[in-house]
């Protein structure tokens, strides 16, 4: 049974496109990355499987059950950190967290204080006196205090300073080791690269690729840079070569395919230098967005 199963999910806001035919599965124990630029449909997808909005067509299942029909009981086991955090402004942090805890069957008090401690959150302050980063911390604590089986993070690190980001990632890893499945939406590829096992890339409302993060980095793509006098791009044109750029006597390109083909191609040239490296996720990502 998949933890999240999204099936041909489509959402239009009137005529405006939200997402189109998005399908993917997230398995138990995974940290699943969901990357794409702003406006690609990341939040729309999340808000659909949380039933904050309803699909135009398609459906989503969480823990094997329909997300709309069984929404309330499913959400006992979901922790959600929205991208923009706004809470009842006049409340104190502790009041808000207690209110949040009051929705769950289990006693969350101890975990609430632990989390507040880890995130260095001052419980006595009023919500409207908090900075954006501190509100984000409130969001993290309220999303995790009931020790959910599924953690849904929508752009979680925005506003957190680097030290807090480290605490936060550590926290998420621990939750994951405890058995929680994590759905991690972000446009910052570095953090997805560090955290996730698999990643889905969403572009203009459609998922264009779902891949193991290691496969994506190692097995598929090489970033090759050759230097030499009079090199021309035409000599490197072959199946699997993309993003070829020539500048300052160097030719740079991405290659995906049999490595022997490209090494033969390179060895046929008179070169001054060559580097073959794994592209960063950033570069792969840029590649998809060309």
């Amino acid at each position: 049974m998949s933890i999240i199963e999204v099936n041909k999910l489509t959402k239009y806001y009137g005529k405006a496109r939200g997402i189109v035919d998005v399908s993917f599965k997230v398995e138990e124990g995974e940290i699943f990355g969901f990357i794409g630029p702003n406006g690609a449909g990341k939040s729309t997808t999340i808000r659909l499987f949380l039933s904050l909005i309803y699909p135009t067509s398609g459906d989503s299942k969480i823990f094997g059950q329909d997300a709309i029909q069984h929404g309330p009981e499913l959400r006992q086991q979901i922790g959600y950190l929205p991208s923009e955090v706004f809470y009842y402004e006049r409340m104190k942090v502790l009041e808000l967290l207690k209110y949040s805890a009051s929705f769950y069957d289990r006693d969350c008090t101890q975990r609430m204080y632990e989390l507040a401690d880890i995130m260095e959150l001052d419980l006595k302050r009023r919500i409207d006196d908090l900075s954006y980063g501190n509100k984000k911390k409130v969001g993290i604590v309220q999303g995790l205090l009931h020790q959910p089986k599924l953690i849904v993070l929508d752009e979680p690190t925005a506003g957190l300073d680097p030290l807090m980001q480290r605490n936060f990632f550590q926290l998420i890893r621990e939750e994951n080791e405890r058995g929680a499945t994590v759905f991690f939406s972000s446009h910052i590829l570095g953090e997805v690269q560090r955290m996730c096992n698999r990643v889905a890339i969403i572009k203009e409302g459609s998922v264009i690729r779902i891949e193991d993060i290691k496969t994506m980095q190692k097995d598929n793509y090489k970033k090759i840079r050759v230097m030499g006098n009079g090199l021309e791009t035409s000599r490197f044109e072959a199946d699997g070569v993309t993003n070829m750029i020539q500048e300052n006597g160097a030719v740079t390109f991405f290659y995906k395919g049999d490595i022997n083909v490209v090494t033969k191609m390179i060895s046929a040239q008179e070169l001054a230098d060559v580097t073959i490296e794994e592209p960063t996720l950033e570069e792969i990502f840029m590649h998809y967005y060309e």
């Binding site: 939040s43 808000r47 904050l52 309803y54 309330p72 929205p82 706004f86 209110y99 949040s100």
Partner: protein
């Protein structure tokens, strides 16, 4: 139950403020009208010279200002306006506040059905309105007895008047909720609430002026016309039923719309 409590706590300040205003209003106007009641003959004579349209518009037609209830019915009409604004205000903001202040993503991601959220919020608002209602009862009885200057009055019509408050509040609360869910987005509550409350009042006032029956049919100010209740010692039942039907339709409609609604997000 947790939502009910939370909502009530957040709303309490507003309930207290409104209740104080209603009490102050009832006391001041009852006192003022009682002080001129001694010259009521003069006042009645003066009113007789007013154009009839004006008297209808202000609910003063056929009003005997020399009697306790005659002048109180004048007070009550404007108390109704206050109560209408308060109830409409609570109705319009009841669920729209979560979308406007972007707390919907917090509340609706909790393990709770939207129907439960709506019911809790509805009951919480109703509790607040009932407190104001109780304050209106107490202030009315105290003020009337304080300023009756030995004049006798019938208690029954007064009780009928005050009993109508709860239905009257329910009308503006439920219609308010329905309107907030029919529009795409409520940017600001006050214009809607004022529009609904004064709109209904004006329909009643001008409807009477122009003798147009149709307009009056939809406004609870006409369904619970204090003048009618005082003079007849009874409700205008067919009209009251319209209010009841509107309340039921609005509440059912609100549940249906809220359950289907797409929550707006920050982005």
């Amino acid at each position: 139950m947790n939502i009910y409590k939370q909502e009530f706590r957040m709303n309490l300040k507003s309930v207290v403020t409104w209740s104080i205003w209603v009490a102050v209003f009832i006391f001041l106007y009852t006192a003022a009208l009682s002080s001129i009641a001694t010259d009521a003959a003069l006042l009645n004579e003066m009113m007789a010279n007013f154009p009839e349209e004006l008297l209808i518009a202000f609910g003063m037609q056929g009003l005997d200002m020399s009697t306790v209830l005659g002048s109180y019915s004048f007070v009550f009409l404007f108390t109704q306006v206050l109560l209408a604004i308060q109830a409409a205000n609570y109705g319009i903001s009841l669920v729209s506040v979560e979308e406007r202040e972007l707390t919907a993503d917090f509340l609706l991601a909790k393990p709770v059905a939207r129907t439960t959220i709506m019911t809790s919020k509805l009951l919480s608002a109703l509790t607040g309105l009932t407190i104001t209602n109780a304050v209106a009862w107490i202030s009315s009885f105290v003020a009337i007895n304080l300023f009756k200057n030995g004049r006798a009055f019938e208690t029954m019509p007064l009780i009928l008047l005050l009993l109508s408050i709860v239905v009257f509040q329910l009308f503006f609360l439920s219609v308010g909720i329905l309107i907030s869910l029919l529009v795409k987005r409520v940017r600001s509550v006050t214009p809607y609430a004022m529009g609904l409350a004064f709109g209904m009042y004006i329909l009643s006032a001008f409807g009477g002026m122009m003798g147009d029956v149709k307009l009056e049919l939809i406004t609870p100010f006409k369904h619970f016309d204090p003048n009618y209740i005082i003079n007849n010692g009874a409700y205008d039942m067919p009209l009251v039923m319209i209010t009841v039907v509107v309340i039921i339709v609005s509440i059912v409609g609100s549940y249906v719309l809220y359950n289907r609604r797409d929550m707006r997000s920050a982005a």
